[in-house]
Amino acid sequence: MLIFILKRILAAIPVLFIVTLIAFSLIYMIPGDAAIVAAGENASQERIEQVREQMGLNRPAIVQYFVWIGDLLTGNLGVSLISGHTNAEMIANALPVTVSLALIALTWSLIAGVLIGTFAGLNRDSWIDRTLTALTTFGLAVPTFWIGLILVVTFALQFRMFPATGFTPITEGVGPWLSHLVLPALALGTTTAAEIARQTRAGMIDVLEQDYIRTATAKGLPRWIVVGKHTTKNAAIPVVTVFGLQAAALIGGSVIIEQVFAMPGLGSLALRSIIERDFPVIQAFVVVVTLFVLVINLLVDISYAYFNPKVRQS
C-alpha cells in the first residue's frame, strides 16, 4: 500500500510542474500589464517602466519563472502587487473559510446522496425511485447561487434561523462556526448530493443484478446483510470517483457561493485578485488549489485501493 501511495505522489509531481508553468504563464496570457496595475491610476509611462524594473518584469521570462519557482520551493508565495500583503498571509486567512465550507458541503452531500441513491436503487422503478430521481435532476439543474438566495430569503430573512452572510472561525465556538456554514454549505453541496445520489442509485442497481448478490440472497442472507455487506461496498467505487471530482469542483463553486454569502474565502480572494489583475495572488491561488486537488485525488486513489484490491496489485 505504501508503494502504491508513493507511486501516486511521484505521479503528481509532473502535474504540479505543468501547473506551475501554466500559473506562471498567466501573467502573459491574461490581458493586462502588471506594471500598469501596480503603478496606479494616471501613472506616467516613465513611472510604469520604473515599476516594471522594480518588479523584475523586464527580465527574460525563463529567469522570472525560475526565480518564482525558487521562491515557491522555499515557501515564499510572493507578495500582492496591490496591497503589499504576503500571499501566504492572505491565503492563510482565506483557506479556513473555504475548507470549512467545502467540508460541511461534502459531508452533507455525501450522507444525503448515498442515502437517497441507495433508497432509490433499492426501490427501482417505484414511485419512490421516480420521485427521488426527479429530485436529483432538479438538484443538478438548479444553479447554486439561486439555491443560496432562496435559502437566505427563507431561513435568514424570514425565519431568522441562520445568519445571511459572513463567517465565524471555529476558534470562536463550534455553534457560531456551524451556523454561518449551514446555508452556504447546503447551497454549495446540492449539486454534489444530486450527483452522488444518481451514481449511488446506478451503482446499486448494477451490483444488485450481479450473480453473487443473487447467490447471497438465495443462500437466505437477510436483506440488510446483502445490501450492507455485499452491495454497498462494490457500488461505492463510482461514487468515490464522483466524490473526488466533486470535491475539486466545490472549490470552483465556492467562488460564487462565497459572493452570495459574503464569505472571505479563497473564492472571494481569487475573484478579487482577478478583477484587480493582482497576478502574484492569482498564481499563488492556482498553485495552492492545485495542491489541494492533488491531495484529494490521492485520497480518492487510496480509497480505490481500499474498495478494490485489484487496484493495489496493479
Binding site: 493586462g32 496591497s83 430569503v153 452570495v260 459574503a262 478583477i275
Partner: protein, 522 residues
Amino acid sequence: MRASTPIRATIALGAVLVLASCSGGGTPAPSESSTAVADRTATVVIGGQITPSHLDPHRGVTENDIGMLRYWYDTLTTVVGNGEAAPFLAESWELSDDGKTFTLKLREGLTFVDGEPLDAAAVVTNFDRMISDPNSTVAYILEPIIESSEVVDPLTVQLNLKGGGGALPTILASRPGMMVSPKALANPDVLVTKAIGAGAFDLVEVNPGARYASVRRDDYWDEDAYKFAKLDYLVQADTATRLNSLAAGETTLTAVIGPQKQEAEAAGLKTWESDEPGTAFYRFSMNSERAAFGDKRVRQAMSAAVDRAAISNALFQGQCIPSAQPYPEGYFARSTTLDDSKWQTFDLEYAKKLMADAGYADGFSFTAAVPTLSTYQNFAQILQAQFAEIGITMNLEVIDTTQARQAFVTGKSDALVGFYGGGTDPGIYAMSAYSPKSGDNPGGLTTDNMAALLAETQRSIDIDERHLAFEALLDEAFEMGPAQIVVCHPVGVNATQQNISNFDQTGPLGSSYALRTMTVSK
C-alpha cells in the same frame, strides 16, 4: 438630505463604488436633524464593496480608496457645500500674492494614532515623501506644483511652489492631504497591515479584502464627529448580498442600487437620498484621432443625439441628473454662463444636420471599449441605439474595467463607455480631459489657450475667482468641442437600520459626511 419614504430612485454601480465606502470630510450642520440620543458605545457595521488597494494613502493605486481611508487618515483640508475647501487638520492657509508660497496653519494638539504629534515637521516629512518616494502614486499630482516644503514654526508649514497653488486647498482634501505618522514612514512596510494616520479611528484588525475593524479614538480632535465606539467595515462584493445582510440586521448601513431602495423600504429599513449629485458622472469618451471623432461637428452631433433624461430614467430611475458639463449643479466649478444647450439638448434633427455638414450623412462605425459590469453594458447599449438614430454604428467590445480603460488611455480603442469617480479638486479632471496626451484625452485634443486657462484655474484659492476661471475654461472646452460626452451625475442612495438618524449626505462628497454626523440610537 432627507430620509425618503416614497418608492423611487436608484443609483448605479459606479456611483456605489464611490459612495458606498465614503466617510470623512468636515462636520456640516445636518439639513434635517434628529433629537435622538446618540449611543456612543454602538458599533456601526458597514457593508461595502470596496477593498482599499493599500492602507498607505500615498501608495494606493486607485482614488476609490479615499472613502475608506478617511476613517483612519484625516486630510489637511476638506470640501463642503459647493466644493469649497474648509479647515480640517489645517485651521487656515494662505497663498502668497506672487503664488510662490502656500502656508498652512495646523490645528493645535493634533496627534497620530500612534501618539506621535502631528506638527509642521510631520507635514513636511509627508510632503517630502509623497514627492520623492519612488513608490508614491500621488507624486504626479504634487510634483508639478510643489518645489519644496519647510517648517516655519511647530504649527506652520510653508510649501514653496512651482505654480498651481490655487488648487492646493481642494487637492489637500484628498489622498495628498492624508498625513501619515513620520514614525511609520521610517518603516513604511508597517503600513501594509496598519493604517497610522490622524483620523478618528484606530484600525485594530485587518483581514485583507474581507474585514477592517476599527475603534474610535478617545483623543480625536473633533468630539462631535463619529458618535459611536466601533466601526466594522465588511467587504461584501455582491449588491444583493449587501442588502440581505442589512435586512438580516447584520450590518448597519449600505449603499443600494436601483429597485433595491424599494426592497429596503419594504424590509422596514430607512433609505437616505442625497439632495445633490456628487462630482462623479457617467461619460462617453472619444479618441479624437480615431474614427470620425476629430471633427467637432461629429462630437457635437453625438452629444445632441444622446437622450440624457431617457438614460437617467431607464437606468437610474431618474436618480442621475442629466448634464453636458463635467461639474454638477451647485458645484463651484460649474459654469452658469455657458450656453451648452446645443450639446445637452436632445435634438435628433440638429444632430443629423451636423453629421451631414461634416460629410457623414451616412454615418460611420467605430468600436467602444465597455467594462464588464452590467451597468456599463446597459449604458453602452442605450448609447448604441441612440447613436444608431443618426446613422452611427457603435460596436461594443466588452472587456474588464481595468483593461477597458487601459485600451482607451493607450490609444488602442476608439472610445470608452465609463464613469468618472469624481474628486475634491475639479482641476484634476480638467487637466486629464483637456490637456494633450493626458489619460482622458489620448487623441491630444486641445487648444492653444487651454494650458493657460488650466493654469488660471489653479492660480487663486479664492472660490469666486476659481469659478470664473472654470467658466472661461469650459467656454474654451465647449468651443473646441470636448472629446467626452458627459451624460449625468448620479445621486447617492443609502439604506440603514431604523435606529440611524442625521445621516447627512450634503456636499460634493455625498455620503462622505454621513458617518461623521449620523446618530446611532439604542
